[in-house]
């Protein structure tokens, strides 16, 4: 195919994934955590599409669309939780939300 080979796309996808992971692990604001989670999902999507193109198989695209739909649902629920937390005047800091401590 024209342009960079599949390996380059996969490298970008890996980078996105790692960056998203870093964001999830290091940020304290739950909104930012959710955004970083989105980045991870997008990295996975990119890998899926790259392989679909590589193997001439549409299944990868289907999978990517399903991931997109699920990501949307997850964001709905996550944001709903954050809004509810905010309404209850709970500080939006993942380090403070530790009442499930053992």
């Amino acid at each position: 195919m024209n342009g960079p080979g599949t390996a380059w796309y996969l490298a970008v996808a890996g980078f996105l994934f790692a960056t998203g992971a870093l964001g999830v692990l290091l940020r304290r604001n739950p909104l930012i955590v959710l955004l970083s989670l989105e980045i991870m999902l997008n990295g996975a999507n990119l890998a899926l599409i790259a392989f679909a193109r590589h193997l001439n198989n549409g299944d990868g695209q289907i999978f990517a669309l399903a991931v997109m739909a699920v990501a949307a649902s997850e964001v709905v629920v996550g944001l709903g939780l954050i809004v509810a937390l905010n309404r209850k005047r709970v500080p939006l800091d993942v380090d403070r939300l530790s009442s499930l401590r053992g």
Binding site: V94, D95, S98, S99, L100, G102
Partner: protein, 626 residues
């Protein structure tokens, strides 16, 4: 009919015990008594049916085995739950259920007003069942099961009045000493399984090396000695008098203590292969009969005199079966059951009339106040001493006569037995005269109340009367020189090894009669006519009162060291290792749990980090492996 009767005989007391236990307080106390008594009589009916059934068969066919189901089977070993109906077992069945039934009926009156009558009758029914299982067991394993259960019932009944510490201690003593016998029997059974791979009665006749046969016989003898309270395991029987009098009558006179004799007869093939052990059995019997006879001379408790008398008479039975006179031994077992139970029950009536007093020094002159009881006691005494034509004459003398046929050793035993006859006469009539003779003592005048005429009184009087009659005529069924149906009956089971000639029978009977009469005379002179003072040999008196110091010996040799060892174990092993160990285990588990709980920080980021790290590690693993 034979088999059905036998099963009914075996299971009817068990059903009664079970029903009484399950019914609890829903049946009246007396109702429990009626149920138990009825079950014993039903058992007797079953025994009669079996007896009739066997009579209808020829000699060699008189052995029926009925298997209910296969109890144990492993490899090539097999034991079934089977009962054996043969002349020997039917004889025992009749004795146990018959005399047992009479005694349980007697208990209706004796135990009236006791608070826990139901428990008593349940235990009695359980005992009758256990004894029947013992004698009807079709293989050694079931015999052992009955053996153990009989020991259990004895323990339960001796300690029946469990508020009394002395009763509890006596029950424990009886059980522990019986357990020693159980252990030796179990060892003998292990040897049998090892050599013959079976516990059927048939393998007892197999060929064994002399050592093996001796060991097996020794183990069986150990069990018999413990159960029958012979030397050296005899110390539990006098203490067992703590139980109610009917218990003493049934268990410690008529049935359980005779189980040892039954065992030897049943397993006689192995004893015949181990003549040394058989001679040992006879010797122990002779020793016991002398020992017990001497101790009985100084006892002051009415029941204890009769208990030592039992010990002594069983010594006679051991003497007989040890020498191979099986039928004679069993015959004496039967007559002994009659007159010993009679004596115990009559003593029970006396005890009840004197507000539970048992010390004969306080008694006296009861003959005028309780003439019928005196008559019963007198008949029992005559039978015990062996005066013609009462029951003991025929049975005891036949044993001694058989001893004459057994060589030099037999003559030694014969002499011992005859000395025992003199002692029997002495202590029996001593008891009779002290309790019934002379004028009523001050104690009697103060505390006597006549036996009741209602159901309670009747239930105690009728069995005594029946047994009195049996003590008179029971011996007439066999008079060795003239007719011996019992010997013929038991021939198919156990052929006697010794057969006395006629002149031996006559001679022995004459001498025994003479000696018994002499003992009676001496007792009359000392205790009734008071012609002479009772001699005081201080040393002998002390030894006899301490029962030849057996209790003290066993205490020092066995009990004290065991207690010390047990205390040491407790201090050094149990407390630190076991009790401490479990506590430490609990503590450490808790600490470990605490450590693990620290992983649950509750922080989202920690969990996410854990996931990410695990994925990283796993990826490395996958890449490396692939």
């Amino acid at each position: 009919m034979t088999v059905t009767g036998a099963w009914i005989c075996l299971l009817s007391p068990l059903a009664a015990a079970g029903l009484i236990t399950l019914a609890g307080t829903r049946i009246t106390r007396r109702g429990a008594g009626y149920l138990a008594t009825a079950s014993c009589f039903v058992a007797f009916g079953g025994a009669i049916a079996s007896f009739a059934g066997l009579l209808g068969r020829d000699g060699e066919e008189r052995e029926v085995v009925s298997t209910a189901w296969t109890w144990l089977s492993g490899g090539s070993y097999r034991s079934g739950f089977e009962i054996l109906v043969d002349p020997l077992s039917v004889l025992m069945m009749l004795i146990v259920s018959g005399v047992g039934g009479l005694i349980v009926a007697y208990s209706l009156g004796y135990m009236d007003r006791d608070d826990e009558e139901r428990r008593y009758f349940a235990y009695m029914a359980l005992f009758v069942f256990s004894m029947l299982l013992l004698v009807q067991g079709g293989n050694l394993l079931l015999l052992l099961a009955g053996w153990g259960m009989v020991g259990l019932s004895s323990y339960l009944l001796i300690g029946y009045w469990h508020e009394r510490p002395s009763a509890v201690a006596a029950a424990k003593k009886a059980f522990v000493m019986n357990a020693i016998g159980d252990a030796t029997m179990a060892l003998a059974f292990f040897l049998l399984i090892k050599e013959g791979n079976s516990l059927e009665f048939g393998i007892l006749g197999g060929d064994y090396s002399s050592t093996t046969a001796n060991l097996i016989a020794l183990g069986l003898l150990g069990g018999a000695v413990a159960k029958s309270a012979q030397l050296p395991l005899q110390t539990w029987l006098p203490d067992a008098m703590e139980g109610p009098t009917p218990v003493s009558a049934l268990i410690h006179a008529a049935t359980m203590v005779t189980a040892g004799v039954y065992l030897i007869v049943r397993t006689h093939p192995i004893f015949e292969q181990a003549p040394a052990i058989a001679d040992l059995a006879a010797g122990l019997g002779a020793g016991t009969l002398l020992l017990a006879g001497l101790i009985a001379l100084v006892q002051v408790d009415i029941k204890r005199v009769i208990a030592y008398s039992t010990m002594s008479q069983i010594g006679y039975m051991f003497l007989g079966v040890g020498l191979g006179a099986y039928a004679n031994g069993m015959f004496h077992l039967m007559t002994h059951a009659f007159f010993k139970a009679l004596l115990f029950m009559a003593a029970g009536i006396v005890i009840h009339a004197l507000a539970d007093e048992q010390d004969i020094r306080r008694m006296g002159g009861l003959r005028q106040l309780m003439p019928r009881t005196y008559l019963a006691f007198f008949i029992g005494s005559l039978a015990l001493v062996g005066i013609f034509p009462f029951a003991g004459f025929f049975s005891k003398d036949s044993i001694l006569a058989a001893a004459m046929d057994a060589g030099a050793y037999g003559y030694i035993l014969w002499t011992a037995g005859l000395i025992g006859t003199f002692l029997t006469g002495l202590y029996t009539f001593r008891l009779l005269y002290l309790v019934f003779g002379g004028e009523p003592s001050p104690f009697v005048r103060e505390h006597f109340h006549a036996p009741r005429r209602d159901l309670v009184g009747i239930s105690m009087a009728v069995p005594v009367a029946i047994l009195a009659v049996l003590s008179v005529i029971g011996g007439w069924i066999q008079w060795a020189p003239l007719w011996h149906p019992i010997e013929t009956w038991l021939e198919t089971v156990a052929e006697p090894l010794v057969t006395p000639a006629s002149w031996m029978d006559w001679t022995t009977s004459a001498i025994a009669l003479l000696l018994g009469g002499a003992g009676w005379l001496v007792a009359w002179l000392l205790y009734s006519a008071h012609t002479y003072q009772v001699p005081r040999f201080a040393f002998a008196q002390r030894v006899l009162e301490h029962k030849f110091y057996f209790d003290e010996l066993y205490d020092a040799v066995f009990y004290r060291p065991t207690v010390r060892v047990a205390k040491a174990f407790y201090r050094w092993i149990e407390n630190p290792l076991i009790a401490g160990g479990t506590t430490e285990l609990g503590d450490e588990t808790r600490d470990l749990g605490g450590l693990v709980a620290r992983l649950q920080t509750g922080l989202l980021r920690t969990y996410a980090l854990a996931i990410a790290s695990s994925v990283a590690v796993l990826a490395i693993v996958f890449v490396a492996v692939k």
